[in-house]
Protein backbone atom coordinates (compact mmCIF):
# COMPACT_ATOMS: atom_id res chain seq x y z
CA UNK A 1 0.00 0.00 0.00
CA UNK A 2 1.33 3.36 -0.98
CA UNK A 3 2.72 5.54 1.75
CA UNK A 4 3.71 2.57 3.92
CA UNK A 5 7.22 1.27 4.16
CA UNK A 6 7.69 -2.13 2.58
CA UNK A 7 11.11 -2.71 4.09
CA UNK A 8 11.74 -6.26 5.32
CA UNK A 9 14.81 -8.39 6.05
CA UNK A 10 16.34 -10.88 3.65
CA UNK A 11 15.14 -13.98 5.51
CA UNK A 12 11.69 -12.47 5.93
CA UNK A 13 11.50 -11.83 2.21
CA UNK A 14 12.60 -15.39 1.43
CA UNK A 15 9.89 -16.66 3.77
CA UNK A 16 7.25 -14.84 1.74
CA UNK A 17 7.95 -17.16 -1.20
CA UNK A 18 6.27 -20.50 -0.51
CA UNK A 19 7.54 -23.87 -1.67
CA UNK A 20 6.25 -24.70 -5.11
CA UNK A 21 6.01 -21.08 -6.22
CA UNK A 22 6.90 -19.86 -9.70
CA UNK A 23 9.82 -17.48 -9.13
CA UNK A 24 11.33 -15.20 -11.76
CA UNK A 25 14.74 -13.73 -11.06
CA UNK A 26 16.12 -10.53 -12.53
CA UNK A 27 19.45 -9.71 -14.07
CA UNK A 28 21.18 -11.80 -16.73
CA UNK A 29 23.75 -14.57 -16.49
CA UNK A 30 26.35 -13.21 -14.03
CA UNK A 31 25.00 -9.68 -13.80
CA UNK A 32 22.69 -8.13 -11.22
CA UNK A 33 21.13 -11.42 -10.16
CA UNK A 34 19.29 -11.33 -6.81
CA UNK A 35 21.94 -13.68 -5.47
CA UNK A 36 21.52 -12.89 -1.77
CA UNK A 37 17.83 -13.67 -1.97
CA UNK A 38 18.57 -16.89 -3.84
CA UNK A 39 20.91 -17.83 -0.98
CA UNK A 40 18.22 -16.92 1.55
CA UNK A 41 15.85 -19.29 -0.24
CA UNK A 42 18.53 -22.00 -0.09
CA UNK A 43 19.13 -21.34 3.64
CA UNK A 44 15.45 -21.66 4.42
CA UNK A 45 15.39 -24.97 2.52
CA UNK A 46 12.91 -23.93 -0.15
CA UNK A 47 11.64 -26.84 -2.25
CA UNK A 48 9.86 -27.33 -5.52
CA UNK A 49 10.32 -23.84 -6.90
CA UNK A 50 9.81 -23.20 -10.60
CA UNK A 51 12.57 -20.90 -11.78
CA UNK A 52 12.06 -18.44 -14.68
CA UNK A 53 14.64 -16.24 -16.42
CA UNK A 54 15.79 -15.55 -19.97
CA UNK A 55 19.47 -16.35 -19.30
CA UNK A 56 20.61 -17.58 -15.91
CA UNK A 57 23.83 -18.69 -14.26
CA UNK A 58 24.64 -18.41 -10.56
CA UNK A 59 21.08 -18.16 -9.20
CA UNK A 60 19.72 -21.20 -11.04
CA UNK A 61 22.90 -23.19 -10.44
CA UNK A 62 22.91 -22.44 -6.69
CA UNK A 63 19.25 -23.31 -6.30
CA UNK A 64 19.86 -26.58 -8.16
CA UNK A 65 22.85 -27.32 -5.92
CA UNK A 66 20.66 -26.82 -2.87
CA UNK A 67 17.73 -28.88 -4.11
CA UNK A 68 15.31 -25.96 -4.20
CA UNK A 69 14.03 -26.31 -7.75
CA UNK A 70 11.51 -28.46 -9.58
CA UNK A 71 11.99 -26.83 -12.97
CA UNK A 72 13.93 -24.19 -14.84
CA UNK A 73 12.31 -22.23 -17.68
CA UNK A 74 15.09 -20.38 -19.47
CA UNK A 75 16.70 -19.80 -22.82
CA UNK A 76 20.21 -20.25 -21.46
CA UNK A 77 21.69 -21.60 -18.23
CA UNK A 78 25.46 -21.35 -18.04
CA UNK A 79 28.37 -19.20 -16.97
CA UNK A 80 29.62 -18.18 -20.42
CA UNK A 81 33.20 -18.61 -21.47
CA UNK A 82 35.04 -17.98 -18.21
CA UNK A 83 33.36 -20.61 -16.03
CA UNK A 84 31.66 -22.83 -18.59
CA UNK A 85 28.57 -24.94 -18.04
CA UNK A 86 26.44 -24.70 -14.89
CA UNK A 87 27.46 -27.98 -13.18
CA UNK A 88 24.72 -28.21 -10.57
CA UNK A 89 21.97 -27.36 -13.04
CA UNK A 90 23.43 -29.82 -15.50
CA UNK A 91 23.62 -32.61 -12.92
CA UNK A 92 20.09 -31.93 -11.63
CA UNK A 93 18.64 -32.09 -15.10
CA UNK A 94 20.64 -35.12 -16.19
CA UNK A 95 19.60 -36.98 -13.06
CA UNK A 96 15.95 -36.10 -13.64
CA UNK A 97 15.47 -34.16 -10.42
CA UNK A 98 14.94 -30.85 -12.19
CA UNK A 99 12.96 -30.38 -15.40
CA UNK A 100 14.72 -28.26 -18.02
CA UNK A 101 11.92 -26.33 -19.69
CA UNK A 102 14.08 -24.95 -22.44
CA UNK A 103 12.86 -21.82 -24.14
CA UNK A 104 14.29 -19.42 -26.61
CA UNK A 105 14.94 -16.25 -24.64
CA UNK A 106 12.30 -14.59 -26.83
CA UNK A 107 9.68 -17.18 -25.93
CA UNK A 108 10.30 -16.43 -22.24
CA UNK A 109 9.73 -12.79 -23.12
CA UNK A 110 6.62 -13.74 -25.08
CA UNK A 111 5.29 -15.84 -22.19
CA UNK A 112 5.85 -12.92 -19.79
CA UNK A 113 4.17 -10.53 -22.20
CA UNK A 114 1.14 -12.81 -22.34
CA UNK A 115 0.91 -12.64 -18.54
CA UNK A 116 1.36 -8.88 -18.60
CA UNK A 117 -1.43 -8.51 -21.15
CA UNK A 118 -3.80 -10.85 -19.37
CA UNK A 119 -4.00 -13.35 -22.22
CA UNK A 120 -3.31 -17.05 -21.82
CA UNK A 121 -0.98 -17.27 -24.84
CA UNK A 122 0.66 -15.19 -27.51
CA UNK A 123 1.75 -16.10 -31.03
CA UNK A 124 5.46 -15.75 -31.70
CA UNK A 125 7.43 -15.30 -34.91
CA UNK A 126 10.24 -17.82 -35.32
CA UNK A 127 11.05 -21.43 -34.34
CA UNK A 128 10.74 -22.75 -37.91
CA UNK A 129 12.62 -26.04 -38.13
CA UNK A 130 13.41 -26.16 -34.42
CA UNK A 131 12.78 -29.32 -32.41
CA UNK A 132 11.88 -27.16 -29.41
CA UNK A 133 8.12 -26.82 -30.07
CA UNK A 134 7.72 -30.61 -30.29
CA UNK A 135 9.99 -31.22 -27.30
CA UNK A 136 8.07 -28.68 -25.23
CA UNK A 137 4.61 -29.59 -26.47
CA UNK A 138 3.98 -26.18 -27.94
CA UNK A 139 0.99 -25.96 -30.24
CA UNK A 140 0.32 -23.63 -33.13
CA UNK A 141 -2.35 -21.02 -33.71
CA UNK A 142 -3.65 -19.64 -37.00
CA UNK A 143 -4.28 -16.03 -37.82
CA UNK A 144 -8.07 -15.98 -38.36
CA UNK A 145 -7.67 -13.38 -41.12
CA UNK A 146 -4.74 -14.67 -43.17
CA UNK A 147 -4.29 -18.26 -42.05
CA UNK A 148 -0.66 -17.57 -41.15
CA UNK A 149 0.52 -20.10 -38.56
CA UNK A 150 2.52 -19.20 -35.46
CA UNK A 151 3.72 -21.16 -32.46
CA UNK A 152 1.52 -20.27 -29.47
CA UNK A 153 3.51 -19.64 -26.30
CA UNK A 154 1.57 -20.22 -23.07
CA UNK A 155 1.67 -17.36 -20.56
CA UNK A 156 4.08 -17.54 -17.65
CA UNK A 157 2.74 -15.56 -14.71
CA UNK A 158 5.34 -15.84 -11.97
CA UNK A 159 4.05 -15.80 -8.43
CA UNK A 160 7.09 -13.79 -7.46
CA UNK A 161 9.65 -11.70 -9.25
CA UNK A 162 12.84 -11.02 -7.35
CA UNK A 163 14.89 -8.18 -8.73
CA UNK A 164 18.12 -6.67 -7.48
CA UNK A 165 18.46 -2.93 -8.08
CA UNK A 166 21.07 -0.35 -7.24
CA UNK A 167 18.59 1.89 -5.50
CA UNK A 168 15.08 1.53 -4.13
CA UNK A 169 12.86 3.55 -1.87
CA UNK A 170 10.75 2.32 1.02
CA UNK A 171 7.63 2.52 -1.12
CA UNK A 172 9.03 0.07 -3.63
CA UNK A 173 10.16 2.33 -6.44
CA UNK A 174 13.29 0.81 -7.96
CA UNK A 175 16.11 2.26 -10.02
CA UNK A 176 18.40 0.14 -12.16
CA UNK A 177 21.72 1.48 -13.38
CA UNK A 178 23.23 0.03 -16.52
CA UNK A 179 21.56 -2.81 -18.38
CA UNK A 180 17.92 -3.43 -17.44
CA UNK A 181 17.83 -6.85 -19.08
CA UNK A 182 14.25 -8.20 -18.83
CA UNK A 183 13.59 -6.96 -15.29
CA UNK A 184 10.85 -4.49 -16.09
CA UNK A 185 8.93 -7.22 -17.92
CA UNK A 186 9.45 -9.60 -15.00
CA UNK A 187 8.07 -7.08 -12.54
CA UNK A 188 4.97 -6.42 -14.58
CA UNK A 189 4.32 -10.09 -15.35
CA UNK A 190 4.49 -11.28 -11.74
CA UNK A 191 1.80 -11.36 -9.09
CA UNK A 192 4.21 -10.08 -6.46
CA UNK A 193 7.56 -8.34 -6.61
CA UNK A 194 10.45 -8.30 -4.14
CA UNK A 195 13.19 -5.77 -4.66
CA UNK A 196 16.60 -6.26 -3.11
CA UNK A 197 18.66 -3.11 -3.29
CA UNK A 198 22.20 -1.94 -2.81
CA UNK A 199 20.77 1.13 -1.14
CA UNK A 200 17.33 1.97 0.23
CA UNK A 201 16.27 5.58 0.54
CA UNK A 202 13.10 7.21 1.83
CA UNK A 203 12.16 8.43 -1.59
CA UNK A 204 13.94 8.05 -4.90
CA UNK A 205 15.15 11.42 -6.09
CA UNK A 206 16.01 11.02 -9.77
CA UNK A 207 14.56 11.76 -13.17
CA UNK A 208 11.26 10.00 -13.65
CA UNK A 209 12.55 7.94 -16.59
CA UNK A 210 15.29 6.55 -14.35
CA UNK A 211 12.70 4.80 -12.17
CA UNK A 212 12.30 1.35 -13.71
CA UNK A 213 9.93 -0.29 -11.24
CA UNK A 214 6.80 1.47 -10.01
CA UNK A 215 6.43 1.10 -6.27
CA UNK A 216 2.75 0.25 -6.27
CA UNK A 217 3.57 -3.11 -7.89
CA UNK A 218 6.11 -4.07 -5.24
CA UNK A 219 5.36 -6.11 -2.11
CA UNK A 220 8.66 -5.94 -0.26
CA UNK A 221 11.96 -4.08 -0.32
CA UNK A 222 15.16 -5.53 1.15
CA UNK A 223 18.29 -3.52 1.88
CA UNK A 224 20.93 -5.87 0.50
CA UNK A 225 24.27 -4.22 -0.17
CA UNK A 226 26.36 -6.70 -2.12
CA UNK A 227 23.14 -8.54 -2.84
CA UNK A 228 24.13 -9.50 -6.38
CA UNK A 229 27.51 -11.02 -5.40
CA UNK A 230 29.21 -13.01 -6.85
CA UNK A 231 27.41 -11.54 -9.86
CA UNK A 232 28.29 -8.05 -10.96
CA UNK A 233 26.25 -4.96 -10.12
CA UNK A 234 26.76 -2.13 -12.60
CA UNK A 235 28.46 0.86 -11.10
CA UNK A 236 29.13 -1.01 -7.84
CA UNK A 237 31.18 -4.16 -8.30
CA UNK A 238 32.27 -6.69 -10.89
CA UNK A 239 32.01 -10.47 -10.91
CA UNK A 240 33.54 -12.08 -7.81
CA UNK A 241 35.70 -14.77 -9.41
CA UNK A 242 36.66 -16.75 -6.28
CA UNK A 243 33.07 -16.62 -5.07
CA UNK A 244 31.82 -17.96 -8.38
CA UNK A 245 34.47 -20.66 -8.41
CA UNK A 246 33.41 -21.66 -4.92
CA UNK A 247 29.99 -22.63 -6.25
CA UNK A 248 31.11 -23.99 -9.60
CA UNK A 249 33.72 -26.15 -7.89
CA UNK A 250 31.47 -27.32 -5.04
CA UNK A 251 30.99 -31.07 -5.23
CA UNK A 252 28.20 -31.65 -7.68
CA UNK A 253 24.97 -32.52 -5.89
CA UNK A 254 26.13 -31.13 -2.55
CA UNK A 255 23.99 -28.69 -0.66
CA UNK A 256 26.73 -26.10 -1.10
CA UNK A 257 26.87 -25.31 2.61
CA UNK A 258 30.45 -24.15 2.41
CA UNK A 259 29.53 -21.82 -0.39
CA UNK A 260 26.59 -20.38 1.57
CA UNK A 261 28.86 -19.82 4.57
CA UNK A 262 31.23 -17.86 2.37
CA UNK A 263 28.50 -15.25 1.87
CA UNK A 264 27.05 -15.29 5.39
CA UNK A 265 28.67 -11.99 6.30
CA UNK A 266 27.75 -10.38 2.97
CA UNK A 267 24.13 -11.42 3.37
CA UNK A 268 23.97 -10.83 7.10
CA UNK A 269 24.71 -7.20 6.55
CA UNK A 270 21.24 -7.01 5.12
CA UNK A 271 19.39 -8.43 8.09
Amino acid sequence: MIGMSKLVGLAEAAAMIPDGAVVAMGGNVMHRSPAALARALARRGARGLHFVKTAAAYDADLLCACGCLASVSAGYVGYESEFGLAPHYRKAVESGSVEAREHACYTIITALRAAIQGVSFLPVKGLEGSDLPAARGWKTVSDPYTGAVFVAIPAIRPDWAVIHVQEADRLGNGRILGPRYEDVLLAKASRNVILTAERVVDRLDCAIEAVDISGFMVSAVVAAPGGARPCSCAGRYGIDVPGTRSLVESPVGSAADAHLSLYARNDGGAL
Binding site: G75, Y76, E80, S81, L85, G126, G129, G178, P179
Partner: protein, 239 residues
Amino acid sequence: MSAWTASDIMALCLARLLRTGETVFHGVASPLPLVAILAAKRLSPPGPVYLNITGGVDASPRRLPKSTDDPELLAGSASLFGLADIFDLAARGGLDTAFIGAAQIDGSCRLNSSVIGPFDRPKVRLPGGAGSAVLVPNAKRTLVWRTKHDPRSFPARVDFVTSMGGIDRVVTPLCVFRNAGGRLVLESIHPGVGFDEVAAATGFPLAAISAPATPAPSAAEMAALAAVDPGRLRDIEFA
Protein backbone atom coordinates in the same frame (compact mmCIF):
# COMPACT_ATOMS: atom_id res chain seq x y z
CA MET B 1 54.99 -19.98 -37.45
CA SER B 2 52.51 -17.48 -38.81
CA ALA B 3 52.09 -14.00 -37.45
CA TRP B 4 48.47 -14.65 -36.61
CA THR B 5 46.45 -17.20 -34.63
CA ALA B 6 43.29 -19.13 -35.32
CA SER B 7 41.44 -16.63 -33.13
CA ASP B 8 42.79 -13.76 -35.24
CA ILE B 9 41.67 -15.19 -38.54
CA MET B 10 38.33 -16.30 -37.14
CA ALA B 11 37.63 -12.82 -35.77
CA LEU B 12 38.64 -11.31 -39.08
CA CYS B 13 36.60 -13.73 -41.17
CA LEU B 14 33.57 -12.67 -39.13
CA ALA B 15 34.50 -8.98 -39.32
CA ARG B 16 34.94 -9.08 -43.10
CA LEU B 17 31.33 -10.19 -43.48
CA LEU B 18 29.92 -7.08 -41.79
CA ARG B 19 28.74 -4.02 -43.69
CA THR B 20 28.46 -0.39 -42.70
CA GLY B 21 24.93 0.55 -41.66
CA GLU B 22 23.58 -2.95 -41.12
CA THR B 23 22.24 -3.94 -37.71
CA VAL B 24 24.23 -6.68 -36.03
CA PHE B 25 23.67 -8.49 -32.74
CA HIS B 26 25.62 -10.87 -30.55
CA GLY B 27 24.36 -12.52 -27.39
CA VAL B 28 25.88 -14.23 -24.37
CA ALA B 29 29.11 -16.22 -24.58
CA SER B 30 30.13 -14.49 -27.80
CA PRO B 31 33.66 -13.12 -27.41
CA LEU B 32 34.71 -13.63 -31.03
CA PRO B 33 31.65 -11.84 -32.44
CA LEU B 34 32.23 -8.97 -30.01
CA VAL B 35 35.81 -8.57 -31.22
CA ALA B 36 34.74 -8.99 -34.85
CA ILE B 37 32.11 -6.26 -34.63
CA LEU B 38 34.45 -3.79 -32.98
CA ALA B 39 37.16 -4.61 -35.52
CA ALA B 40 34.72 -4.09 -38.40
CA LYS B 41 33.71 -0.71 -36.98
CA ARG B 42 37.37 0.28 -36.72
CA LEU B 43 38.33 -0.99 -40.17
CA SER B 44 35.48 0.71 -41.99
CA PRO B 45 33.87 3.36 -39.82
CA PRO B 46 31.18 3.77 -38.76
CA GLY B 47 30.63 0.10 -39.57
CA PRO B 48 27.53 -1.86 -38.55
CA VAL B 49 25.00 -0.68 -35.95
CA TYR B 50 26.08 -2.78 -32.99
CA LEU B 51 23.38 -4.19 -30.70
CA ASN B 52 23.78 -6.45 -27.68
CA ILE B 53 21.92 -7.81 -24.65
CA THR B 54 22.77 -4.88 -22.40
CA GLY B 55 20.68 -2.56 -24.56
CA GLY B 56 23.75 -0.91 -26.02
CA VAL B 57 23.51 0.76 -29.42
CA ASP B 58 26.96 1.33 -30.87
CA ALA B 59 28.53 1.10 -27.44
CA SER B 60 32.23 1.79 -27.12
CA PRO B 61 33.45 -0.38 -24.22
CA ARG B 62 36.61 0.88 -22.55
CA ARG B 63 37.78 -2.69 -21.96
CA LEU B 64 36.45 -5.98 -23.27
CA PRO B 65 34.74 -8.04 -20.58
CA LYS B 66 34.90 -11.83 -20.56
CA SER B 67 31.12 -11.91 -20.30
CA THR B 68 29.42 -10.60 -23.41
CA ASP B 69 26.41 -9.29 -21.58
CA ASP B 70 28.53 -7.32 -19.13
CA PRO B 71 27.40 -3.78 -18.26
CA GLU B 72 30.59 -2.46 -19.88
CA LEU B 73 29.02 -3.27 -23.24
CA LEU B 74 26.54 -0.45 -22.62
CA ALA B 75 29.28 2.16 -22.17
CA GLY B 76 29.00 5.09 -24.52
CA SER B 77 25.75 3.82 -26.01
CA ALA B 78 23.60 6.38 -27.77
CA SER B 79 20.33 4.91 -26.48
CA LEU B 80 18.84 1.85 -24.80
CA PHE B 81 17.60 -0.89 -27.10
CA GLY B 82 17.22 -4.02 -25.01
CA LEU B 83 17.01 -7.70 -25.76
CA ALA B 84 13.23 -7.75 -26.19
CA ASP B 85 13.59 -4.87 -28.64
CA ILE B 86 16.26 -6.77 -30.57
CA PHE B 87 14.16 -9.93 -30.82
CA ASP B 88 11.23 -7.83 -31.96
CA LEU B 89 13.41 -6.10 -34.53
CA ALA B 90 14.44 -9.49 -35.89
CA ALA B 91 10.85 -10.76 -35.88
CA ARG B 92 9.69 -7.81 -38.00
CA GLY B 93 12.55 -8.27 -40.45
CA GLY B 94 14.81 -5.45 -39.27
CA LEU B 95 17.82 -7.34 -37.92
CA ASP B 96 20.40 -7.80 -40.63
CA THR B 97 22.88 -10.09 -38.91
CA ALA B 98 22.79 -12.30 -35.83
CA PHE B 99 25.85 -14.07 -34.45
CA ILE B 100 24.95 -17.48 -33.10
CA GLY B 101 27.16 -20.11 -31.51
CA ALA B 102 26.35 -23.80 -31.12
CA ALA B 103 27.74 -26.99 -29.63
CA GLN B 104 26.98 -28.94 -32.78
CA ILE B 105 26.59 -27.88 -36.40
CA ASP B 106 25.67 -30.30 -39.14
CA GLY B 107 25.89 -30.22 -42.91
CA SER B 108 22.21 -29.34 -43.23
CA CYS B 109 22.73 -25.99 -41.47
CA ARG B 110 21.22 -27.25 -38.24
CA LEU B 111 22.45 -26.06 -34.84
CA ASN B 112 22.30 -27.79 -31.48
CA SER B 113 22.87 -25.97 -28.19
CA SER B 114 20.34 -27.94 -26.17
CA VAL B 115 21.26 -31.56 -25.38
CA ILE B 116 23.48 -34.48 -26.20
CA GLY B 117 21.23 -37.51 -26.08
CA PRO B 118 17.44 -37.44 -25.66
CA PHE B 119 15.83 -34.11 -24.78
CA ASP B 120 13.94 -35.41 -21.74
CA ARG B 121 16.78 -37.45 -20.26
CA PRO B 122 19.93 -36.00 -21.77
CA LYS B 123 23.40 -37.43 -21.52
CA VAL B 124 24.65 -33.85 -21.45
CA ARG B 125 22.39 -30.92 -20.68
CA LEU B 126 23.84 -27.98 -22.62
CA PRO B 127 23.10 -24.36 -21.73
CA GLY B 128 20.31 -23.97 -24.30
CA GLY B 129 20.05 -22.04 -27.50
CA ALA B 130 19.42 -18.61 -25.94
CA GLY B 131 18.00 -16.60 -28.84
CA SER B 132 18.91 -18.96 -31.65
CA ALA B 133 15.58 -20.70 -32.22
CA VAL B 134 13.99 -17.38 -33.14
CA LEU B 135 16.97 -15.41 -34.43
CA VAL B 136 18.17 -18.01 -36.91
CA PRO B 137 14.82 -17.98 -38.76
CA ASN B 138 14.05 -14.28 -38.18
CA ALA B 139 17.32 -12.42 -38.78
CA LYS B 140 18.15 -11.70 -42.41
CA ARG B 141 21.26 -13.81 -41.97
CA THR B 142 23.01 -15.71 -39.22
CA LEU B 143 26.75 -15.96 -38.85
CA VAL B 144 27.91 -19.00 -36.86
CA TRP B 145 31.30 -19.53 -35.29
CA ARG B 146 32.79 -22.46 -33.39
CA THR B 147 36.33 -22.58 -32.04
CA LYS B 148 36.44 -26.37 -32.03
CA HIS B 149 36.42 -28.07 -35.38
CA ASP B 150 36.14 -31.80 -34.85
CA PRO B 151 33.68 -34.52 -35.85
CA ARG B 152 31.76 -34.22 -32.57
CA SER B 153 31.17 -30.53 -33.17
CA PHE B 154 30.42 -31.03 -36.87
CA PRO B 155 28.50 -34.32 -36.88
CA ALA B 156 26.58 -35.94 -39.69
CA ARG B 157 23.42 -35.04 -37.82
CA VAL B 158 22.92 -32.94 -34.70
CA ASP B 159 21.42 -34.70 -31.66
CA PHE B 160 18.70 -32.05 -31.42
CA VAL B 161 17.74 -29.21 -33.75
CA THR B 162 17.73 -26.12 -31.55
CA SER B 163 17.55 -23.93 -34.63
CA MET B 164 18.02 -24.00 -38.36
CA GLY B 165 17.40 -21.96 -41.42
CA GLY B 166 18.98 -18.64 -42.11
CA ILE B 167 22.62 -19.59 -41.60
CA ASP B 168 24.83 -17.73 -44.02
CA ARG B 169 28.38 -18.64 -42.97
CA VAL B 170 30.07 -20.87 -40.39
CA VAL B 171 33.59 -19.87 -39.35
CA THR B 172 35.92 -22.37 -37.65
CA PRO B 173 39.63 -22.48 -36.83
CA LEU B 174 40.16 -24.39 -40.07
CA CYS B 175 37.81 -22.93 -42.65
CA VAL B 176 34.74 -20.99 -43.64
CA PHE B 177 31.56 -22.79 -44.69
CA ARG B 178 28.73 -21.13 -46.56
CA ASN B 179 25.13 -22.17 -46.95
CA ALA B 180 24.44 -23.37 -50.49
CA GLY B 181 20.76 -24.20 -50.75
CA GLY B 182 20.55 -25.61 -47.25
CA ARG B 183 23.87 -27.48 -47.30
CA LEU B 184 27.11 -26.30 -45.76
CA VAL B 185 29.84 -26.16 -48.39
CA LEU B 186 33.44 -25.08 -48.08
CA GLU B 187 33.97 -21.46 -48.99
CA SER B 188 37.63 -21.19 -48.04
CA ILE B 189 40.31 -22.97 -46.06
CA HIS B 190 42.55 -20.94 -43.80
CA PRO B 191 46.19 -20.56 -44.88
CA GLY B 192 48.34 -23.45 -43.66
CA VAL B 193 45.39 -25.83 -43.30
CA GLY B 194 45.06 -28.73 -45.70
CA PHE B 195 41.85 -29.95 -47.31
CA ASP B 196 42.34 -33.40 -45.80
CA GLU B 197 42.65 -31.88 -42.36
CA VAL B 198 39.27 -30.16 -42.79
CA ALA B 199 37.70 -33.32 -44.18
CA ALA B 200 38.99 -35.43 -41.28
CA ALA B 201 37.72 -32.92 -38.73
CA THR B 202 34.25 -32.74 -40.26
CA GLY B 203 31.65 -35.40 -39.56
CA PHE B 204 29.61 -34.70 -42.69
CA PRO B 205 30.90 -35.16 -46.24
CA LEU B 206 32.41 -32.17 -48.01
CA ALA B 207 30.97 -31.80 -51.49
CA ALA B 208 34.07 -30.22 -53.00
CA ILE B 209 37.55 -31.67 -53.10
CA SER B 210 39.28 -28.34 -52.66
CA ALA B 211 38.57 -24.73 -51.76
CA PRO B 212 40.37 -21.42 -52.13
CA ALA B 213 42.52 -20.15 -49.31
CA THR B 214 41.06 -17.70 -46.87
CA PRO B 215 42.87 -14.39 -47.41
CA ALA B 216 45.53 -14.04 -44.73
CA PRO B 217 45.09 -11.23 -42.24
CA SER B 218 46.44 -7.95 -43.54
CA ALA B 219 48.59 -5.62 -41.49
CA ALA B 220 45.68 -3.20 -41.22
CA GLU B 221 43.40 -5.97 -40.01
CA MET B 222 45.91 -7.15 -37.42
CA ALA B 223 46.35 -3.56 -36.25
CA ALA B 224 42.59 -3.21 -35.87
CA LEU B 225 42.42 -6.39 -33.80
CA ALA B 226 45.28 -5.21 -31.62
CA ALA B 227 43.57 -1.87 -31.12
CA VAL B 228 40.13 -3.18 -30.19
CA ASP B 229 41.26 -6.28 -28.29
CA PRO B 230 44.68 -5.62 -26.79
CA GLY B 231 44.01 -8.16 -24.02
CA ARG B 232 43.24 -10.92 -26.54
CA LEU B 233 39.72 -11.74 -25.33
CA ARG B 234 39.43 -13.52 -28.66
CA ASP B 235 41.60 -16.33 -27.30
CA ILE B 236 39.24 -17.15 -24.39
CA GLU B 237 37.24 -19.78 -26.28
CA PHE B 238 40.48 -21.57 -27.16
CA ALA B 239 41.54 -21.99 -23.53
